[in-house]
Structure formats: structure tokens, C-alpha cells
Amino acid sequence: MRVVHLGAVAMASALFVGVSGSSAQAQTICFAFQDLETEFWVAGHKAITTTLEEKGVRVIERNGNEDANRQLEQVRDCIAQGVDGVIIIPQDGESAVTIVKESQENDVPIAVFNRPPSDLSRGLVVVADNETIAQQAVEFMAQKAIARFEVTGEKATPLIMVGDLGDPNAVGRRDGFFNVMEKYPQYFNDPIEVSTEWDAATALANLEAAVTANPDVDFLFTSSDFLFPTIRSVLEPRGKWLPAGQEGHVIMGGLDGDATACQLIKDGFVTATGVQDLFFEAEAAMDAILTAIDAGETQPNQVIEDPGFALTAANLDVREMDMWGCVLLAEGFLDQ
């Protein structure tokens, strides 16, 4: 479930960086997130307050504490306060639909990002295309594997850490991975699937079992970067946790792009991570809502696709600061 938290920081960072947004004149925006009692909260909170001063947009924050009913009540209280627009990171797709409807019925434009409503037809919805993002990262990893095949002549043994398949994000990421695998059957053995249910403990147990059964795994994709420490604790004792260039290096990649992943790319352990371009998402949500407010639109509906990108050792120099994890890293997040 860690995946869900990313949005706020992206949002915050987007504001911090300074979005080229519409002209805002003392507008008030209600920012309702589902739960931020995590490491990202500190950065997010700071950035939002900074932006308040810079842009003259007043942001009212609301923490729903993972309670959909509370989030609904909070958005309604926001509306009662006369906000000009609402941006939410919803608890889940179903409550998102209800909240979007509530807001629009009260003539307040609303934008949703990070986790899409189960009905995309209403509201300004920013949707990350998990399949494309995963595909980009795995493609980059695959090229490395093919290069290795050219030298050794051995097919790679791939492994995927699958998320909770009740979560559409997890399904898309898995699909993206298999798209690449099916593209290059001549270079890859059949992939091993390890179920994680988005839970580190489950992931640890299942990965231990899978690696014991298949000691020759040399290509690993995790559906979320938050599992890298878990992966490390399994691979390191087996002598498989090695940076690129060393004999026995496992080609690894993931998705989300947190601070740990950024560091691991820099250190050569991880080859690529697919990044939901949350700067883009937050910026898009902000832009869309401010545009709607300026235009006097009260019930704007639009689906905005986030294509994402793969952060790799190759493009690290250029795109490092587009990835929220690296921004946190640069701010000394991992040192705390």
C-alpha cells in the first residue's frame, strides 16, 4: 500500500519547485489526502507551506487517516468554508467517486491524483499508466540482459515480485513486465512470480522460498521499490547482492522511485526504476484545477494520462531531480 503515499510528496515537491501555473489570486484550494503519517509527510508539509507564501494560493490540508467517511466529511467541511477547488488523494477508488460527485454537485471543481476513482468520467483525473511505466523500466533492464546473453550465451532467469492483485496498479505493473518478457522469449526463461500482497513480511517469506528453489535467478523486477530492503536481506546472504560489473550481479529494477531506489541506482545495484511522474501528476492536477477555477468551470471533467518514465543509470544525470525519491535523497532523507 506504500505506493499510494507517493502522491502527496510529489504534489508537495511540485509546488516547491514552482509550477508554471495559472495566475492565482488569493484562491483557496482544499488538499485532502488519505493518510500521510509516513516518512514523506515531513517533506510534503514543508513544501506546501512554502508554496503558500510563494504563490498566494491558500492551501487547506486535510488528513483523512485512512477513513473514507472522514475524508468525505472533511471535503464537505472544506466546501462549506467556500474553497475554490479541491484536490484529493482518495482512500480508494469507490469513495473517490462519491467525493467527486459531492464536490461537483456543490459547484466546486475537483481533481484526483495518485489513485484513480473507479469511475473516470467525472472530475479532473490524473491517471498513471502503470503498464507503460513498468514496460519502460523492464525494457531497459531487458537490454542489459540481452547484452549479457551476447557474452555468456545463457538465458536470463527472471523473477517478478507481484503486488496485491486486488489493486489495479499491481495488475498493470505485472502486465507491463510480461509484455517485455513475451517480446524476447529467446533471451528469457519462464518468469518466476512471487506474491507479496504489498506486505514486506509476506514478500520476504515468499522470496526466500523462491530464491532457494531457483538459485540461478539473475533478473529481478519488483512491483514496488519499497521492497528493495527486503530483497537485499534475501540476496545478500546468498552472495547475490552485487553492483553492476561484478560477477553474479542480478539485474534489478522496480517501480515508484523512492529514495532508496535512487541511491541504489547511483551505487549500481539497481538498473532502472519506473517512475510515476508525480511531478507531472501534481503539476497537471494543479494546472487543471487552476485553469478550471479561472474559467469559472465548476464541474470540469478530464482524464490526464501520466506516461511516467524509467529512471536508469543512463539518464540519471538528466532526470534525477524529476524523481521525488532523488529529491528526498538530495535533501538528506536517508540520513535521518
Binding site: 508539509h45 477513513d67 467517511n69 466529511e73 467541511d77 466546501i79 459547484d107 473507479s118 492483485l165 486486488g166
Partner: protein, 382 residues
């Protein structure tokens, strides 16, 4: 003798003259209501939005589901019990009801659910499309709720297990069962008639210009709604049940002293079972209101800090955790206070860091006032 009397009497009169109105307010049945009003008036100059009709309409609408659940809790606390399973009753019954009455469902989301294919399919729930779907769904929910209450009641009354343990296990087990049923997914596409129970207006108010050709939606405020009618009906029923009937007298007696009540011929076991069933039924009604306003059956409804709101509001209202003392009116005021508190904290635009600290402090202050008041009530001297 005479010197003593003349010495003590004036002091007495003096202290009475000062203390009397304060004492009267502190000792009043309506203490929590006064507290709420004072709190409202103190904050009003700082939070002008507070008295804005739309905000008042929000406060009211947030009150009803919580009130329904707290009414049940009041009875359980009055028999010196506690019902933690209310949270899971809300989640489970909302899932059961939604699975039966949903008008459509997505296989992407629900195909892992145990109910898929049996109760709910692409075409919706078992009752989908039937004219009697909503009432039948509600009856099913109430039956499931009542069954859980029955299990709790039997465990407490007949097996003499501590209510805290019984209902804690219920909270965990039935909550997990609800999540298992849908594999943690929510069930959408509830019929409009059901959704209306959670937010349907009966009387709305427009306070703007008469001449405006088209009234903007956000200037129409709902005041009398279905949830209000449902909750208030339930509360009034429970009020009469508790204060005017033999059942109510028995509830107080069992809570005050179960052994003495049994010896006096009070069927304590039956009363305990009935109270737990009533509590679960109230939770189910709360669950109907919650799931209707959120437009989905949701296994995780009632999780987290929700129960603390229910028990907190009930106890702040004045119902004793030790049994024997409880009134529905008190709970009504307690719920009003809690809901207003949450609302004002939202309006203060505090940072998320501070909001729960402030909430805790206000509740603590209220509890302190209440303790002082009880000491006075107990006639605490000197």
C-alpha cells in the same frame, strides 16, 4: 451553640449565593449541551464559517450515523458492558447488504471475492432489479447484525465471559470476515433508493435572493434528511425504551447490580442478550447510513478510531463505563459535541500534526469538567 450557628450560617449563605448558578449548570442533565453551546459561542468570532448554513448542515449530517451507533452503545454501557464489535458489524453488514442489492458489479474488482458468482455477478446482487430489493437487503443486514448481537449476548450472559473480550474478538473476527468476503474490495453501484437513505433531502433551504433565476446548488442546504429521520426515530424509540418501560428499568437494575437485580426477579440474562442484540442492530442502522452516504458496501467501514468516537461521545455525554447510568439524551448531546469538535478542528485549518493533539486536549478538558461535576453530584464535601 448560638455562637456556632451565627458563625457558620453567613458563610453558608455567601457560598450558596456564589455557587448556586454554577452548581445548577454543572449538575444539570443538559450540562454537555451547555458545554457544546459555550464551545460554539467561544469559537464563533474566530471561525465565522461555523455558523454558515452549509456548515451547520454538514455538522448535522455528520451527526446522524454516529448517533445511531452511539444509541446502541449507550444501552450496552448502561448494563456495565461494552460493545467493541459494533465496528465490525458496520463493515460486515454494509458488505452483505451491498452484495445483495448492487445493480451491477465489475469482475475486475470483485472476481476474487468469495461472493462472486454466488451472491453477486456482473448483473449485480441477488436482489438486483427486484422492486423489493432495498427493503429485503436492509432486512438481511439487520438479521446479520442481530445475529452477531445474539452471539455476543449469549457469550456474555450465559457463558459469563467479559464483554470486552467477547466483543474485541467480534471486532477482529467479523471485521476480518467482511474483508475476506470481498477480498478487501468495496461494492459499488447501490440502488438510488438505498443511497437516498444516507443523504436524501426532505427539506432543503435556500437563503439567497428570491429573484435569482437559477439557484446554485451550493446555496441549497439540506436540513431535514432521511438519515436525520432514521436516527432520530431510533433515538426517540431508545429513549422511551430506556426511560419509560419495564425493559429500561431492568437495564438500569442489571447495570447497577446484576446480582441484586437477579435476586429481585429481573431476568438479567435475557436483558443482557436483548441489549447486545439492540446494540448490534443500532450499529447496523449506522452501517446503512454510512454505506449509503459513501455509496458503497465497504468491509473496512467502522475500522480505526471510529469506535473511540462512539464510546467517547457516549461517555462524554455522561453514560458511565461502570454501568447503571446512561441516558439517550446525554448521548445525543455527547455526539453533537464530538461532531462539532471535529468540524471546528477542520475549520481551524490546523496542520495535521496539531489537529489530534488539539482534539485530545479538548476532550481531556471536557472530561475534567465532567469529573468535577460528578464529584459535586456525589455530594463530595469539603
Amino acid at each position: 451553640m448560638s455562637t456556632i450557628e451565627s458563625g457558620s450560617a453567613p458563610a453558608q449563605v455567601g457560598s450558596k449565593g456564589w455557587a448556586s448558578p454554577v452548581r445548577r449548570v454543572l449538575l444539570s442533565e443538559y450540562f454537555v449541551l451547555y458545554l457544546t453551546i459555550v464551545y460554539f459561542l467561544i469559537l464563533l468570532p474566530f471561525l465565522p464559517t461555523l455558523s454558515n448554513p452549509q456548515n451547520l448542515s454538514n455538522v448535522l449530517s455528520n451527526m446522524w450515523p454516529l448517533l445511531a451507533v452511539a444509541v446502541g452503545q449507550t444501552l450496552v454501557l448502561t448494563i456495565a458492558g461494552i460493545d467493541l464489535s459494533q465496528g465490525s458489524v458496520i463493515g460486515l453488514t454494509s458488505v452483505v447488504g451491498a452484495a445483495l442489492i448492487a445493480t451491477a458489479a465489475s469482475s475486475d474488482v470483485l472476481s476474487n471475492s468469495v461472493l462472486w458468482g454466488l451472491v453477486i455477478t456482473e448483473q449485480g446482487g441477488l436482489f438486483a432489479g427486484k422492486s423489493w430489493a432495498v427493503p429485503a437487503g436492509i432486512v438481511a443486514m439487520l438479521l446479520v447484525g442481530a445475529l452477531i448481537g445474539l452471539i455476543n449476548g449469549i457469550a456474555v450472559a450465559l457463558l459469563r465471559m467479559p464483554p470486552f473480550m467477547v466483543t474485541l474478538v467480534g471486532l477482529i473476527a467479523f471485521g476480518a470476515f467482511a474483508i475476506f468476503l470481498t477480498q478487501s474490495e468495496n461494492i459499488r453501484n447501490l440502488p438510488d433508493a438505498y443511497i437516498a437513505l444516507g443523504k436524501g433531502d426532505i427539506v432543503s433551504v435556500y437563503l439567497g435572493e428570491q429573484s435569482t433565476p437559477q439557484i446554485p446548488r451550493r446555496q441549497i442546504y439540506s436540513f431535514i434528511t432521511y438519515p436525520m429521520i432514521i436516527s432520530i426515530t431510533l433515538a426517540v424509540f431508545a429513549h422511551f425504551l430506556l426511560s419509560r418501560t419495564m425493559f429500561g428499568r431492568h437495564v438500569y437494575a442489571v447495570g447497577a447490580n446484576r446480582r441484586a437485580a437477579e435476586i429481585s426477579g429481573v431476568p438479567a440474562k435475557r436483558i443482557i442478550i436483548q441489549v447486545f442484540v439492540f446494540s448490534a442492530v443500532c450499529a447496523t442502522i449506522g452501517g446503512i447510513l454510512f454505506s449509503a452516504r459513501l455509496e458503497a458496501g465497504r468491509p473496512t467501514l467502522g475500522e480505526g478510531t471510529f469506535l473511540l468516537d462512539v464510546i467517547g461521545a457516549t461517555v462524554i455525554g455522561g453514560t458511565s463505563l461502570f454501568g447503571g447510568k446512561g441516558k439517550i439524551v446525554w448521548t445525543f448531546f455527547g455526539v453533537l459535541f464530538f461532531v462539532l469538535l471535529s468540524n471546528t478542528l477542520n475549520l481551524m485549518n490546523l496542520s495535521s500534526f496539531h489537529i489530534d493533539m488539539v482534539k485530545g486536549s479538548v476532550i481531556l478538558a471536557a472530561a475534567l469538567l465532567d469529573v468535577t461535576r460528578r464529584r459535586l453530584l456525589a455530594g463530595g464535601l469539603a
